[in-house]
Symmetry: D3
Subunit: 183 residues, 6 copies
């Protein structure tokens, strides 16, 4: 049986890793959908899809299941999102998610969805990892070693810190440093 | 004379209904533009364009004018919005709106716009109806009976409640349950 | 040597003008990229690209360098933004910016970027100019005379005030007057 | 039971009309999806979605079933086309088509499709009607009277002839008069 | 009075130049809209918008009128094309074109259009110039000197020849060398 | 060293397989970019990205290098294509292609490109395989066994034959069966 698990993986961290570990007890193959694949270089989405493919592939290589890391670009239309995912991904029988919108969309499309109380932790940790990266505090302990290697190789901390920088209060409010078209 | 009245109709409620009633005294035919037609399954836009067409068509069937329910997808460019609307809609001589941006865009394009003090109520009620749906309080009294029928038929309350769910505080802030690409 | 300087120029004001003055001491030719070119008729982006071209061209005509005002539409993908800019602009050797994201994107693409402490002021002033326009306070002293002429010619103050209007508290929150699809 | 029948309706002609007549014997309600809704002013798609809504609504008013004319903009992705149609249209139980791609897409999505040998005629006639319009030959006899009225009211023949004009052989080949960006 | 003249300018050649010369007798200012601005590196559209801005600006600098070279990206919707052009361009009172579709769109929008029998030549020459470039025959005599300089500076002939190459008959038909996604 | 090789893989066939075999002698890791990832259900692009990921992954599993199958959606702008590919793919040092446009785009971006005379065969074979599938002639001998398995599992022959069907000469010309919006 093949399962599908979507995340933004910005970056792939221990919360994701524990989920994959749990899912691996139920399926033979797992598609890891890399969401918002077109986004990068922003405080919430610092890494490109290609960089996230590297993180995911290296980190899950130990598990004893076949995995596929598949970037999924945003379509920004909830009503066609499931069809979009299904066209980009190898066919799957069950989706794993604790996100209420994802669950609703899959259910309306007749796709089986599995939830797990432990899934909630993943969300907390994504924000926490990026915040620690920005503040130069220990983030390596929250991600698999392979992910830390990738982040360092691409100078990921420097990038995240730069795109988060606000140059003091001037940028807050109207303009914001996340927009490449300032002033 | 044919008029044009745009709204998101999420859902079509008594405020809209009173407006159509008033407009019906001035025109023979009325186009009801269903705005943000591509949006659905979100707290602010729970219903699809097709579902909203059903609500509008059933609710206005009593009025003694010819009506057209026309979905209008967002183009996200204010400067071409009027041309977009005009290409999607049967030709109209007057637009009805109290929205300052809509008024400004139509006026710059040379289209006559009618305003009415009572139009303001429509805005208040849209938010109120959705909030009551989320909290399982009486919402049926704020919409025409035909709309309540449609909402129930499509399990609309369950959908709105699910896509609004936040699973506790974990989702607030960085990730948000409105994004199908969590974590 | 040809330089590149991007801004939204909503409107082009004295802060921009001082920057161009400083840049003009370093380059022979300067491309002024008009960012978010497709946006207009909103509180943050009231003027069209065409109107901004007029402002920029008239205001910089005194400088003793060759200038190009080039509208740059948003692509909404940071990873291809530099390539997009490079395809729309005459070739340039150096970019001028104090925006951290712009700097990061140009640097990753191998483009030289110059910063200047004085650049910060530009941001403050864009918001200030629009706020004064909305409140009918003196804004003319913050922009070159040629820009004030353009704004008056297009009834720019009236437009900005209208698209910023909220019709009282009813519009705040769920709907907002910036969205042409209200209710 | 509600059915769905899609066409470009450029214009709505007697072939379409006979199909609706036949479908009307099987369903109570019929959605007429107006395909390629964003296209207009070209030899193959001369009329806007709004103009086609008028043609369809006026022509089908005699039938004893409830009809909905719904513009469907192109998404240009076959894999999500059915979801797109379903979100824009009131829910339907059966689709009517003789187009092999439409049939295949609906079948893969589990939607029932009805075919009919007579459906083929519709295709032939669309090209024929436009050709006659271009050549100023009798086209009125191929469309319902209400459609002829709409075409005349919008100066449709003049428009079609103009956008089909090629100014002699110069335009053939590389450039083509259908592209608003010549040379 | 300000005029508007659109072309793809691939490249800007003597036919365009003669048109600008003629238009210059009627207007004080002229906007040269650079159409299909996002296209480049193809047999029909070899040059980027930025490269074409350079060609146009250098070539028209001798004329005694104020000129603006403005890139216009395709929107692929004829019905909103005029609004799109008007938002990107400084305001103009008259448009110059011999393209039937352009004329029709401007006329339906109420914009005055001037035609000229000599305009036809521009079309012929665009194809001819590119064909000569591909075949290494004399093309310089068909364009202003300044344009020839730009083409050489950017290695334009080599680029056009490469993107036109077909590697023999293998590429003809199904795949084509114009598509970056072969096989 | 990591290489990049792009194709549409409709389907992945022996020509592709021999290329990967040759490339595998030069690199340790290879990214297989699945081009036109959003296209499917058409005569030239019958299979979805997800289906092609399955074909590629199963077929290359024997090679002694690490491979990544990465879907690449079309952006339709040659000038940003390389940046788009680089953001979607794990970083690579060399690209493999015989497509003149791909070579030109990579070279202008400073990416090393390797060509090989044998690469030409891949193009011929893609068309040939699909033609045989349509005509129910032997196609299995032109693809790896794993690919044939995938095609059969998804009823790929039936799909290709259906979306290629033209229902006789009626569909040829104006309408075409490839367009889901006929008539």
């Amino acid at each position: 049986m093949r399962g599908f698990y979507i995340g933004r993986f910005q970056p792939y961290h221990n919360g994701h890793h524990r989920m994959v570990e749990e899912i691996a007890t139920e399926v033979d193959e797992l598609v890891l959908g890399i969401g918002s694949a077109g986004d990068s270089h922003s405080p919430r989405n610092p890494f490109t899809a290609g960089e996230r493919i590297m993180m995911v592939n290296k980190a899950v290589s130990d598990f004893d299941i076949t995995t596929y890391a598949v970037p999924i670009e945003d379509l920004d239309r909830n009503s066609v999102w499931v069809s979009h995912v299904q066209s980009m991904s190898p066919a799957f029988e069950v989706a794993y998610s604790n996100n209420p919108l994802v669950i609703q969309l899959f259910k309306e499309a007749g796709v089986e969805v599995h939830q797990s109380p432990m899934f909630n932790r993943e969300v907390l940790e994504g924000t926490e990892v990026r915040q620690r990266m920005i503040e130069d505090r220990d983030w390596e302990s929250l991600v698999p070693d392979e992910v830390a290697d990738v982040v360092r190789e691409i100078d990921g901390i420097e990038r995240l810190q730069r795109v988060t920088a606000t140059d003091g209060s001037e940028r807050v409010g109207d303009d914001g440093s996340r927009d490449p078209n300032p002033c």
